[in-house]
Amino acid sequence: MKHLIKTGALAAAFSMGIMSAQADNVIRLATEGAYPPWNAVNSAGQLEGFEIELADELCARAKVECSLQQTAWDGIIPSLQQGKFDVIIAGMSITDKRKKKITFSRAYASSPAFFVVSDDSPLKDFSTEVDSLALGDMDDKEQAALMALKKALDGKTVGVQKGTIHLNFLKEYLKDEIDIRTYATQEQLDLDLQAGRVDVALAAMSYWHKLLSKEEGKNLLTVGPGVTEGPFGEGVGLGFRKKDQALADQFSVAIDSMVADGTLSAMAQKWFGFDAAAK
């Protein structure tokens, strides 16, 4: 974390000229660099993570020359449309709302959303009959799980990061039951979860998995089912400008081939500790 900041400070201090896009034939990919283990900056100041490795492999398979840059999550879609870069590879879920603005490749990963509480919470033993709640086409058990979730969270304060599918889910499904608090960064949400200002926090399993295995997250635990589909979309994909559909298709084919030969699963296992790869 500390080195990441140094990199940021240096970048801010030394990038004083007007930056302009480079030209010709190089496909410019952009990631956030602040969402481990998807994408982050390591102690040497370099980008690393599941999507960094994935980007290399996809560009090789699609036989295109690529460059990778860091950009803020806030405003990442407007930046793509303005032409700051050509592809978003930043743990972005494919949703109907985003599809109105941009186009996506096929999904390469998916990470269910999980509610997390601290171990002194009255909710800590909450669980449902199903472990996984897919909102798309719910069976009776899933319907019951959703009802149980609504009941358990009734009157609770739930924290979530701004501009995420998790916020969209809360607004769509639990608006009447809960009090939603939104945060600019996941770290601020973590502080308030630890301080007990929010009863529950909602984020992707891929994020929680790492935090819960560390010292500062050892008093936290996931409760209830992992939630997918519906507002969570069809998994995580690469984002493109609408006019670049051909490029999107090119990358989709590359993802297909990685799914087929098992490299994608292995890569996901390596970075997330569980198989978050798309099938």
Binding site: P78, G196, R197
Partner: protein
């Protein structure tokens, strides 16, 4: 310019107006009462009264409000056990309380300086005249010093009110959905930051325009 986004964000942003006005109103009220106490404290001769009062004014006027808000909100989270033990945590747990506390303390420091200036500007011979006709010290303060000081302070206080309207937007950084908070949410929801910005900016201009008119009205009424 996307008119759909504008027409959808107008009602949403306007619905946050009571939150912004509530923040500004309660902070100004609490801040003003505190400010009178601090200004009087700063004018006392006893060092153990005027020193703390001056220190308070110095700290809150010399540091940014943003860091004061973060310190009170996230900083208090570090002392959850201690605050629970003294029965204050249920207050500090609420973002609204922390925001009003930070804004009130901040405006109290600035307003105290304004009031102190006002009190010092009251001509000595008026106070002597009061004493000469046999007024008690408290009467002199209540009937001569305070009203004159307030009139003298009004233009500067008007500026402070406008600064507070603007400052209240920082409450959005600790999860409060005021006009700026709702603006941020709409901007990220539609992936289109500029259109709702026009609406939010206009609301603040409007509030400040009205505030200026109200202060000007009082200035005219209190003019000799």
């Amino acid at each position: 310019m996307d008119w759909d986004i504008i027409s959808e964000s107008v009602p949403a942003i306007f619905s946050a107006l009571p939150t912004t006005l509530g923040l500004v109103g309660s902070s100004l009220l609490i801040g003003f009462i505190l400010a009178v106490l601090v200004a009087l404290g700063a004018l006392q001769k006893a060092w153990f009264i005027n020193r703390p009062a001056n220190l308070f004014v110095y700290i809150f006027r010399s540091s940014p409000l943003l860091i004061q808000i973060f310190l009170i909100y996230y900083g208090s989270g570090q002392f959850r056990q201690e605050l629970t033990a003294v029965g204050l945590w249920h207050l500090f747990r609420e973002p609204w309380f922390c925001a009003v506390l930070a804004l009130s303390l901040n405006t109290a420091a600035y307003t105290a300086e304004i009031i102190r200036g006002g009190i010092k500007s009251v001509p000595l011979d008026l106070l002597e005249a009061g004493a000469a006709i046999g007024m008690k010290k408290s009467q002199i303060f209540r009937r001569i010093t305070f009203p004159l000081a307030i009139r003298q302070s009004l233009p500067a206080y008007g500026n402070e009110v406008i600064l507070m309207v603007k400052s209240s937007s920082l409450a959005s950084t600790i999860t409060i959905m005021d006009v700026t908070g709702v603006y941020k949410e709409i901007a990220s929801e539609y992936f289109s930051p500029l259109e709702p910005l026009l609406i939010a900016g206009s609301i603040y201009l409007l509030i400040n325009f009205i505030a200026t008119q109200i202060i000007a009205y009082f200035e005219r009424r209190l003019a000799i």
